[in-house]
């Protein structure tokens, strides 16, 4: 077995040195009653070539292939990824390192994370960003818990019903054993969150909106910030498509106190939903309540600049049950990937790409409307939008699938009364030709 270097002779020599005669004696402290008393029923060990064959067979079971254009978004986006990213991020010095607890031999990871924190803070308009959370959904749950820590005695939070349904489910999972109450804010006919019920309230610790929201609708963030702050609550701004902030105002500038969302769009493939990363930042005054890992700048014995993990007194390995979160890792290589992607695009590129995404999605939106579908929400959208078809859309969807286009997410199972409503997502991977095909199939 190529991963296990010991020869029989090595093993005998080691037994002698230890003073045991066999493996049985090495495991002498494991009582008989705890023993695995049969052979594990697993497939026989495979050679590299045998594994390749097995995995190739599994790959043929995928009906949606890399040749398909995927017009589904909803928290996972098909974007172009330059080959520089997998090539450099596959370097084993970065990939096979552990958490940088020994900073002198992990300056690569540490400087990379510091750069990520900085670019993310600039993107989101916050003072501080952490080195990432597991994903956008768990980041939202952590953001609301953070709001409750800051809100001290308050026991309620509110979140918009236009936040990604899975993200809301994760929040409910996290909150289930706690004493905290979650209130859902409905959305208006224009697809934006109705925060009118906040007026007169004063016991919400935090209120969460997502923008662009699950329907792709850009929320009225400044008005929301005012209403939320008037109610004495912290404004948690979520997102699932960070590319939007290349074009739109960022949530920090619009008054958000905590900003969190999914960062998969920045250089990571869909990969059936993971790994991506939870981007997470806040205003400076809340930094001691921030969950997750942070990298800070410092100097070495000679006064040279260097980076270390810092403010660990918030974290579980020091504070144990009083920690700001139980999180003990970040998304590591995904975090550096996001930073490398932001660096590759640059400010100019990010704007250009966001604009292209916007223009192409508007093109499809308009085309579908002309083809007879109705756009459900009148508010401006980014990348994603919801349309309702007069007739059953499924036969059209099937025809498009045969032309290698995955068109639209059926929203009926997410929202009652959303029959025949579909969420479309258009990114730079969808050419005009593909979009025209969709439009003409709908017209048929």
């Amino acid at each position: 077995m190529r991963y296990l270097p010991h020869t029989d002779e090595d093993i005998r020599n080691m037994f002698d040195a230890i003073g045991v005669k066999d493996f049985e004696e090495l495991f002498i402290t494991v009582p008989e009653s705890c023993r695995y008393d049969k052979e594990m029923a697993l497939p026989d060990p495979k050679t590299e070539w045998g594994l390749n064959k097995y995995m190739a067979e599994i790959r043929t079971m995928m009906k949606v292939t890399p040749e398909h254009t995927v017009l589904l978004g909803a928290g996972r986006y098909q974007h172009n990824i330059p080959s520089t990213i997998p090539s450099i991020m596959g370097r084993s010095e970065l990939l096979t390192a552990y958490t940088p607890y020994q900073p002198e031999m992990a300056q690569g990871t540490l400087q990379g994370l510091f750069e990520y924190q900085t670019l993310t803070a600039r993107l989101l308009g916050v003072d501080v960003a952490n080195a990432s959370m597991y994903d956008g959904a768990s980041a939202l749950a952590e953001a609301l818990l953070m709001g409750l820590r800051i809100g001290k005695k308050k026991k309620r939070v509110a979140m918009s019903a236009a936040i990604h349904p899975h993200f809301r489910e994760v929040v409910r999972t996290y909150f289930h054993p706690t004493e905290f109450e979650i209130v859902e804010l409905p959305f208006l006919e224009n697809g934006r969150t109705d925060f009118s019920s906040l007026s007169g309230e004063d016991d919400f610790a935090a209120v969460a909106l997502q923008s662009p929201n699950f329907f792709g609708v850009v929320e009225e963030m400044e008005a929301a910030a005012e209403a939320i702050h008037q109610a004495g609550a912290l404004f948690v701004a979520g997102f699932s498509e960070p590319l939007a902030f290349g074009l739109l105002k960022n949530p920090g500038d619009e008054g958000a106190d905590i900003v969190c969302g999914e960062g998969q769009s920045f250089g990571m493939p869909e990969s059936f939903g993971g790994p991506g990363l939870g981007m997470f930042g806040c205003k400076k005054k809340y930094v001691r309540n921030l969950p997750g890992r942070l990298v800070g700048e410092t100097t070495d014995l000679d006064g040279n600049r260097g980076y270390v993990l810092t403010l660990a007194t918030r974290e579980q390995h020091i504070r144990r049950e009083k920690a700001t979160s139980n999180i003990c890792s970040n998304q590591g290589i995904c975090t550096l990937t996001a930073a490398m992607y932001m660096a590759s695009l640059g400010g100019t590129g990010l704007r250009k790409l966001a604009r292209l995404n916007y223009d192409r999605s508007e093109y499809l939106k308009q085309g579908l409307e002309e083809a007879g579908a109705s756009v459900c929400f009148s508010s401006p959208t980014f990348n994603e939008f919801v349309v309702e078809f007069k007739d059953d859309f499924r036969p059209v969807q099937k025809r498009l699938m045969e032309q290698k286009i995955v068109a639209g997410l059926d929203l009926a199972k997410y929202y009652p009364g959303f029959d025949n409503r579909y969420l479309f997502c258009v990114t730079e991977t969808a050419s005009k030709e593909v979009l025209d095909t969709v439009i003409s199939e709908v017209k048929k």
Partner: protein, 484 residues
């Protein structure tokens, strides 16, 4: 006497990203627009972030230079206790990166993604078989996330029985994530001191376990590298009072094919696929922390899970489930790597991996115990815990020893953990290190122990062969600079 592989190398300086580049450069292709520019209200438009503009070459050199300041498992021995820094096979990267897998959108209907669902289904079964437990969810994104899933299952179980419980038993050797995960579920940790032999004492559990207590969290083998020999008896006591037993599977690498967790009385267990199942740690993540349970708790597992009816794989949700832990299926790419590892190893080599992991740790323990103070001189599992007790008279600390090891070409062991051993030095070689590697490492540690007597300042001034010398962590925390 052998020296370690440490030498000084060619170290290139590299500024921060925004200290280089020029406006107007770009590092990746962007398609030209083929559609008309759409209208967009001015009040929605921002200025776009202040990012530097860099060319492709600038970006590639930047990250290549950064990578050269890092030490990974591929660089050398990484005996970081409790972290299981074993070799990460390259072939697994290839399969996780295959386009059919990476291009799969998680909201495709089941019929379009049978392949990705099959991997989840088979992995669920493999992990159940390896642990001896009955059902698995692969959704948790890391070990601590799996622990949280486990505590949510505890809570759901007790609420289902009609009574929420308020406390949980917590050995003092536990990872910090254990009490933090339990606290998220409103459980107050009741600390348990390890007994004289470094393992849990049955009588103490009997005294503390009551009907207000949800159960116990046990890491086995524990963080001292010792097998909790009384686990069955402890489980019986906990079960008698209506509690559940949580197994922290962080140290599963010592016991595959050797210990049956169900027979030990464990009800819920999380695994760290990035430790035991060889997926790369990525400088901190992504990991994966599947949670495994006995049949009775299956209905509470996070959803969706994947089932197979003999012809089709499908996503299923149980109404009693604690719900979703993650936006989609967890860190799926990590699952694929672990799946490939298990297929490569099979039952035979997984068991050998555990045997060799214990063999390697036992060998290091025996060879070093006359040189470094050994906290508990008992048969160890996959790791051995030493301390700086013998070096204190020369004013040399665990930290100094760790930093000197770096100059000699090794990543240091885990230090100052577990907390119950002051100045702990926790060595976990893993099974993928050869006898020659171990011997060289042992010789180097012996040399450093001598240096601690003859030249303590050499240790105090270490490391000296890296881009930076010892970094001031106090300054970083006092005046946090978290953003450039």
């Amino acid at each position: 006497m052998k020296n370690g592989p440490g030498r000084s190398g060619l170290i290139m300086d590299e500024p921060l990203l925004w200290e280089k580049g020029k406006k107007g450069r770009n590092g990746m292709s962007i398609p030209e627009s083929d559609v008309p520019a759409a209208a967009l209200a001015d009040e929605l438009c921002g200025e776009g972030p202040d990012f530097p503009d860099l060319s492709e070459v600038e970006v590639v050199r930047h990250y290549t230079r950064l990578s050269q300041w890092n030490f990974g498992v591929d660089t050398g021995m990484y005996p970081l206790g409790s972290c299981t820094m074993k070799y990460n096979p390259k072939i697994n990267e290839k399969h996780a990166g295959a386009e059919e897998i990476t291009s799969a959108h998680p909201l495709l209907d089941d019929e379009y993604c049978q392949g990705t669902l099959r991997i989840i289904y088979e992995l669920q079964n493999f992990l159940a078989e390896i642990t001896g437990l009955d059902a698995v969810s692969v959704q948790p994104a890391a070990g601590a996330h799996g622990e949280l899933a486990g505590m949510l299952i505890f809570d759901a179980y007790h609420q289902n029985k009609g009574k929420k419980r308020s406390k949980i038993l917590m050995p003092d050797t536990a990872h910090g994530t254990n009490p933090a995960s339990a606290a998220l579920c409103g459980y107050k940790p009741v600390p348990i001191k390890s007994g004289e032999r470094g393992i849990l004492d049955v009588e103490q559990i009997r005294e503390l376990m009551d009907e207000e207590t949800a159960g116990i969290m046990i890491t086995n083998p524990n963080t001292l590298g010792l097998f909790e020999e009384n686990i069955r008896e402890i489980a019986e006591i906990v079960h008698e009072k209506g509690g559940l037993v949580y197994g922290d599977g962080a140290n599963m690498n010592a016991i595959m094919g050797i210990v049956d967790l169900k027979k030990c009385g464990v009800d819920v267990l999380h695994l760290n696929l990035h430790k035991t199942f060889s997926t790369p740690h990525g400088g901190g993540g992504p990991g994966a922390g599947p949670v495994c349970v006995v049949e009775e708790l299956k209905k509470f597992l996070p959803s969706p899970r994947v089932d197979f009816d003999g012809s089709t794989y499908k996503q299923v949700e149980d109404t009693a489930s604690i719900g979703r832990m993650h936006g989609f299926h967890g860190n799926y790419g990590v699952l694929v790597r672990a799946f490939c590892y298990i297929l490569t190893m099979g039952a035979e080599y997984l068991e050998k991996a555990s045997q060799y992991a214990v063999l390697n740790a036992s060998y290091v323990k025996v060879k070093l115990k006359d040189h470094l103070h050994l906290a508990y001189d008992r048969p160890c599992m996959h790791e051995a815990v030493f301390s700086d007790k013998n070096q204190q008279e020369n004013n040399v600390s665990t930290l100094d020893i760790a930093k000197r090891l770096m100059d000699c070409g090794y990543h240091p062991p885990t230090i100052y953990f577990p907390l119950v051993v002051p100045g702990a030095i926790m060595i976990e070689p893993t099974e993928t290190e050869s006898l020659e590697e171990l011997d060289t490492f042992i010789e180097v540690v012996k040399k450093i122990v001598k240096e601690a007597e003859t030249d303590p300042d050499l240790l105090h001034n270490s490391p000296s062969r890296f881009k930076v010398k010892r970094l001031d962590e106090t300054q970083a925390a006092r005046n946090p600079c978290l953003c450039g």
